[in-house]
């Protein structure tokens, strides 16, 4: 419970996401800044991008991104700059390399597997004889007789 209170207090910073004074004068540059910051994670928050976050650190990062853009960096350079300092953890979209390939390929592989299984099942159903024609079991015969008697 104490931890929860602590977390709530941390959240309770008086700032809100992107502030008017942060916005760059050049709309094209600002657009790129928004694009980049929506893909970067606010490190002290829980699963929020710096673009949405109210935390002070997120504001610092937003300003940093804009600083780099104004200095003439390309989008990739800005992202690399941030990743170099804060690690892979800041990327909301994990890079598709190394062990992360498992993550990226899990969906497609599962879809192919599931599709194959389904195809085998459907083929099996399409080719099998309707069971009804195989006749009734002894128990079912007995039950049928019982019903017919009623």
């Amino acid at each position: 419970m104490k931890r929860l209170v602590l977390i709530l207090c941390l959240l309770a910073s008086p700032l809100w996401a992107v502030q008017p004074d942060e916005i760059l004068d050049d709309p094209a540059l600002e657009e790129r800044a928004r694009e980049i910051s929506s893909g970067l994670r606010c490190l002290v928050c829980r699963n929020e991008s710096i673009d949405d976050s109210n935390a002070d650190l997120a504001r610092d990062l937003r300003l940093l991104v804009r600083e780099r853009l104004v200095a003439g960096d390309s989008d990739e350079e800005v992202v690399d700059f941030v990743v170099d300092r804060y690690g892979e953890y800041v990327l909301l979209n994990p890079v598709a390399s190394g062990s992360n390939l498992v993550l990226w390929l899990a969906g497609p592989v599962m879809l192919i597997l599931g599709g194959l299984l389904a195809a085998v099942y459907i083929r099996g159903r399409a080719n099998s004889k309707p069971e009804g024609e195989a006749g009734l079991s002894a128990a079912e015969e007995a039950r049928l007789r019982e019903i017919m008697k009623d």
Binding site: A12, P20, R46
Partner: protein
Amino acid sequence: MITELGHFALILAFFVACFQSVVPLIGAHKRWAGWMAVAEPAATLQFVLTLGAFGALMWAFVTSDFSLELVVANSHSAKPLLYKITGVWGNHEGSMLLWVLIVTLFGAFAAWFGGNLPPTLKARVLSIQGLIGVAFFAFILFTSNPFLRMDVPPFDGRDLNPLLQDPGLAFHPPFLYLGYVGLSMTYSFALAALIEGRVDAAWGRWVRPYTLAAWIFLTIGIALGSWWAYYELGWGGFWFWDPVENASFMPWLIAAALLHSAIVVEKRESLKSWTILLAIIAFGFSMIGAFITRSGVLTSVHAFATDPERGVFLLMITGFFMMLGLTLFAARAGAMQAKGVFGLMSRETMLVANNVLLGVSAFVIFVGTIWPLISELMFDRKLSVGEPFFNMAFTPFMVVLGLILPVGAMLPWKRGNLGRVVKPLAGAFALAVAVGALAFAMQTERSALGPVGLFLAAWLVSGAAVDLWSRTGRGGGRLSRLTRLPRADWGKAVAHAGFGITIAGIAGMLAWEAEDIRVAQVGDSFDVSGLTITLDDVREVEGPNYLSTMADVTLSKGGSEISRLTPEKRIYPVAGMPTTEAAIDNGFLRDVYVVIGDEQAAGGWAVRTYYKPLANWIWGGAILMAIGGALSLSDRRYRVAAGARKTRAVGVPAE
């Protein structure tokens, strides 16, 4: 005194659950009618006792009994009555009590309305449900007891998290729990069927109402949560792919798959073992959801009480029920022979495709949700999986699903002719393409999202309409026949159309949203997407347990006033926490969303304005889906023909 009675009732309910989980199971095995029959009063008693315990806790909250630890931590005497009541489940212990109350409620439902179930099946279902109850009663009593007293009661409480003091969030948890726990009922039915060794059309018919109910509640619960996020978090996001959101979304997807595959069991006696497996997995995902929310293993914005001890306990419960279910499944699934034969082009095939798509999409979310954990444990890579990944990995499944849905919904059972189905749908398809093209022509952005979304929406809605119309046969009187169609047909069409509406809302909002962030002086006017926003005044207002900075904003178009909005910024002094109360002008085609920010050092206020096209369609679609489910649930065949498999005192077990 009342608190002690509630505590005692909870302990009694635990023992009743123990009894209920053992005796009827033995009775069903030995065919002892008395031992089986005891399940029903036990289920009722369990429910009544748990209700008593819950009532006692609610009483403590309503009367602000600060000798209870839980009340101190989550309530305040100045809190409005509504939030005193909803505060009961606005915390870990209370919400677990609500959870177990719903477990017993569903058990009692099966006891009260399961009159046409064969006695052995009924006894086994209730006994498994009792076993689930045992696990959760033990969890509450041993790790999260809500009835603990304080040594020295304080004068006042620490107040409920202000974010939870909101109607949207107050009723979000009960609906979600009704959904999660509803899936425990399908699990019980699945296990009982495995023990019986028999799954047939009648089983499909019995289990479908519970699946439907669980799915409807999950739909409402998720929609409420997302609607709350939209108006409360201050910038109009409605879905964050947060682990806890995913935890509710995965069971929803699996329940949707289950509810479609149960149709195949009911109507065609195929897909039996798959349906059983889905029922087990669906409950597994519910349990994983509970685990994720309460263990703190995955960081999430839903900072619930997190405690490793509880996490381990919940993980053990999850593991136990999954092992039990899957072991039984492995042992018995072979006995379940599919009967129905169907061709490649048939409703069955399309429902298999539906299940593959829904199942794999849930799997993708599952992998994405737990990947940060696996990656850190196994590869020593600390990373995040967030919105961009999920958007990219999940959306294609929904697009494909939306594309094939209207065709699949109209294909006949067993063997169909694709040409015959496509012909009536040609008009719907043309309409959808036209809508998509129009959206493409009118937008200024070059994104495909909006047009594709509107195309799918038009395709789904008009496809559902064509499907309904085609069921009225030929000749005159089709309109009157339309009104007399079975409710299930209407439910299907409404739910599918709702899916389309939600897609339209999400696509429209994501593709064409406009945003304006600025400093405005009192008296300033500015334009956003052709509308004029005027900041008339900013004043301080005092609420019952908060202080508010409230702005008066006028929204107008071409000089004529549309509405007056009062966005607020609140501080809850006891909890020491600010919240934003956005002011939203709801419209059919768009929302205008205004938020007041901080006073600037150089004068003026930060004001954010968002123009959100089709925003309400997201929740409108969800409501339609829920209504569709409810229509289907009220179909008379669940009431009239539910006893299709006549009861037999002595069944023939399939060994």
